[in-house]
Symmetry: C2
């Protein structure tokens, strides 16, 4: 174990959280965070337990949440980001899913960028994922018709039956463009984008006037370069707005988001599921589950 | 000549105006105007002269402006859109270029969608065109560094020397991506898009944080289906906003736009040029000049 100095604490990683955005952190190009250097610890969010402390703010046994990275132990120093201590009684699985960054991403992206109005049609890709499933449920809570797009009958059934979406298109088995036309006869008012590729193209072909496209992720293109949609000019004819965002932009509004999510959760209005893998040796394999779509809900790994 | 009834007027077309957007009106798909039917007169803006009148609002010799279409004579009825009578002394060429729809499109697109701030970097594609040249000049008037993209040395020279852009990239001879990186070391804050294709891709690779992409036209894709940019996810990392618009949305603000343009024009602050072809038989050929890029400024045809 690494030795600690006065003012430091040592924590053992208990949970790692996985997000598609982490793939972008590995690219060697300017972005919203510096690229992870070759040979450096991969940046990743997680929950750790304090096992030794000479730090004034942490006691042995405390659970702390932060961007600890893919490692088994972490030294918390007095300088730099100080991890948040988790409130007692809050389950780490919940803190990393329905009350965590994925859900807050859904909250701010849908409401702030998407600005859905009651009665509008909202389409969510990656609808069975940690972000998409929450985005769609919030759209329903705001009175929208909500259509998901997900991969496979099991995920689609969960999206409709558990999460209450009005319908879900199975992109692995359905003709997405045809189903979208059927399910959104008045066009798509808000599209919450997690995926890119052919689904984005189909949505662009079916926009409602003044549509808003919330660009949260484009996972289908993270590992391969793929051509973009050939019909971006539909944004002109339909006065569409396609806008990217990053959760960090909402740092000052985290309390608002967490409070809203916790309220809905307590009222039994938010469903979620976590996909828990185990063992440090399975970290890379667990990460790749996001890209194959094997994960069933928020992808976590327990150490 | 077509006979007219009581309440009608007959006008002879004097000028036709050509815009890339007209290409979209020919596509058989839902858009912001109904498609032009096969066999119908092609919809097109122009200026006509009243040659016979039994209509209360028009006198013989009046010049009127409207969506008259590709025809030599037009009957103005009492129902339907009533063409605007042009103020005496206003040159038709000016009314269809620097004070017309192209310039108003530049005005509202740049200012309302692009929201440029002094000191920001604005890139305009189609910079030698009727819309782009005005958009860039307005950006300069608003205190922005302004970079054009145009085809060929003659157009680029006009953009810089006459219109006062800070630089112009020649997409036919330069490496657009490399030149864009050189000329916009802090990234592109506002992109006024007339073209699409590889230029859009290069801009997306060089966004400033919170960039705004004003989607006015994507002419490079109007006659061929071409893949879109493979790097749309840069909108996420850089919180970009890509937004389409149509001049018709600003119907209630036409007076504001025209007043501003006329003011700058009177102060000698707006340069423009028109490319005048002649003869009704040359209508299709004149239209195609927009797509080959042969036109030098606002494309018109005099009858």
């Amino acid at each position: 174990l690494p030795p600690i100095d006065e003012g430091e604490a040592l924590a053992a990683m208990r949970w790692l959280s996985f997000e598609p955005a982490m793939r972008g952190w590995m690219d060697d190009r300017a972005s919203y965070l510096p690229p992870v250097e070759l040979g450096a610890v991969m940046r990743a969010p997680g929950v750790a337990e304090i096992i030794e402390s000479r730090h004034p703010d942490y006691a042995v046994g405390d659970l702390v949440q932060g961007l600890f990275g893919w490692q088994e132990h972490v030294v918390i120093r007095t300088t730099g980001d100080q991890p948040r201590t988790m409130p007692p009684g809050l389950e780490p699985e919940m803190a990393m899913s329905v009350l965590g960054g994925s859900a807050l991403t859904a909250y701010f992206g849908l409401l702030d960028i998407g600005q859905p109005r009651p009665g509008e049609t909202v389409v969510v890709s990656g609808a069975a994922g940690a972000v998409g499933s929450i985005a769609g449920q919030i759209a329903k809570l705001k009175g929208c018709r909500t259509i998901g797009v997900a991969g496979g009958p099991e995920k689609c059934a969960w999206v409709v039956e558990a999460c209450g979406f009005d319908a879900c298109i199975d992109y692995k088995n359905d003709d997405v463009a045809a189903r979208l036309r059927e399910l959104c006869p008045e066009g798509v008012d808000v599209y919450f984008e997690n995926v890119g590729g052919a689904i984005l193209e189909a949505v662009l072909d079916n926009l409602a006037m003044h549509a808003r496209l919330v660009m949260c992720g484009m996972i289908s293109g993270y590992n391969d370069t793929q051509p973009g949609p050939s019909n971006l000019s539909r944004l002109i004819a339909f006065r569409g707005r396609m806008q990217g965002f990053i959760l960090f932009d909402y740092a000052s509004r985290m309390h608002e988001g967490t409070t809203a999510l916790a309220g809905w959760l307590q009222e039994g209005k938010l469903r979620y599921r976590t996909d828990v893998q185990r063992g440090f040796e399975n970290v890379p394999r667990t990460f790749l589950r996001l890209f194959s779509g094997e994960n069933q809900g928020k992808q976590l790994l327990k150490l």
